[in-house]
Symmetry: C2
Subunit: 223 residues, 2 copies
């Protein structure tokens, strides 16, 4: 019964996330998850290949929430590139505001060798492409030269990853520093994207595109 299986999966995920948030990822055991979800250890492992698989499901959930929130907020927001980028980034932080401690604990997995969880792995391609596509949509603006839009989308995605890492460790009230970092970094990014088209910046532009495209910002495996 796939229907029941799906419900069971959701129940395990909910229980596990509650435990992760309450006691942390490392301190939560699969035995606890199974017990609180009302099943045996073996049963829990039947639905999730392990703790890491639960995290994977969590990422997908978070990603969907971000995407939906951004699309909704963009309906309201005005039209400028800078404003739309601000909405996307700040919404991304809003969605995750309650999970900073958990994300801080999970951050290692994102750059780790575990293929399923690494942000750079083939297994994460769907999630990654979804995020990059969002940035690509935002950057589809007359003020941005067409040939730098793709590399810029990639760079913005990488920037957002960095911002999230910063966010998880930012203990300033209301994570004001992260908010300021976002605003400053986006100001710079927009100025750069605007200036890059000027004839005077042709050399820098060639350098940037070669950095981000020919040499590729991300290593081979990301293709």
């Amino acid at each position: 019964m796939a229907r029941d299986a799906e419900a069971t999966r959701r129940r395990i995920l909910a229980v596990a996330l509650a435990l992760f948030r309450e006691k942390g990822f490392a301190k939560t055991t699969m035995r606890q998850v199974a017990r609180e979800a009302g099943m045996s250890l073996g049963a829990a492992y039947h639905h999730f290949d392990g703790k890491h698989a639960i995290v994977q499901a969590y990422y997908a959930q978070q990603n969907a929430a971000h995407e939906a929130a951004v699309r909704a907020a963009l309906e309201q927001a005005g039209g400028g590139l800078r404003e739309r980028l601000g909405v996307a980034f700040h919404t991304g932080l809003d969605v995750r505001a309650g999970d900073r401690a958990l994300m801080r604990e999970l951050a290692p997995l994102v750059i780790g060798p575990d293929e399923a969880l690494s942000a750079f792995s083939p297994e994460s391609e769907p999630l990654r492409n979804q995020s990059i596509a969002l940035m690509r949509d935002l950057v589809d603006d007359p003020s941005v030269p067409e040939d730098v839009r793709d590399p810029m989308a990639l760079a913005l995605w990488a920037l957002f990853l960095g911002v999230l890492l910063y966010f998880t460790r930012d203990t300033s009230p209301g994570q004001a520093k992260t908010r300021a970092l976002v605003d400053g970094a986006l100001d710079l990014a927009v100025v750069t994207m605007g200036a890059i088209g000027l004839p005077a910046f042709a050399p820098v532009r060639a350098q940037l595109t070669s950095l981000l495209r020919d040499a590729e910002l991300l290593p081979d495996e990301l293709a």
Copy 2:
């Protein structure tokens, strides 16, 4: 007998690194390390608080090797800022060229919550300060306005961390992409550092310094 203890420590570290490089960090067990070092599990744990403590010792060793290699290479190298930065970054890669696989596996620990190993933790301050100080020395150049030297040193340190992460995942022959990334990023950095002093760039300069200093590039805990 502190003398014997120190020798035992070194023996454990050497054995552990050999195993890490041969079979990987995760697949190497403390039991193996102890056995190959000719002692019991408990004895090994007496000298190192755990696997993570061995990694910590490895980082310190690597850091010292990089610093020494850079200082030596700079004696030979000419005087330009760009050239000296290139020497520092490329030497950093040279020193670690044989350990890409291991570093890739250890990368998660660097951004992880484990205080002892995180690059951003108070416990790592000595190592971190050593690296930032090296960057600060390099940036002590007439072409760089004095008030941006400190934030630039911090930014260069962060850039180097990112380069190392890229390096561990770069499967291009001879890690040519990483080398190109270093050259391109440093070109941009030097151009930026030079241009930032011009009156026309006063607004951007204010933005940069506020980003890197007032708002701080790194979160609260890094002070």
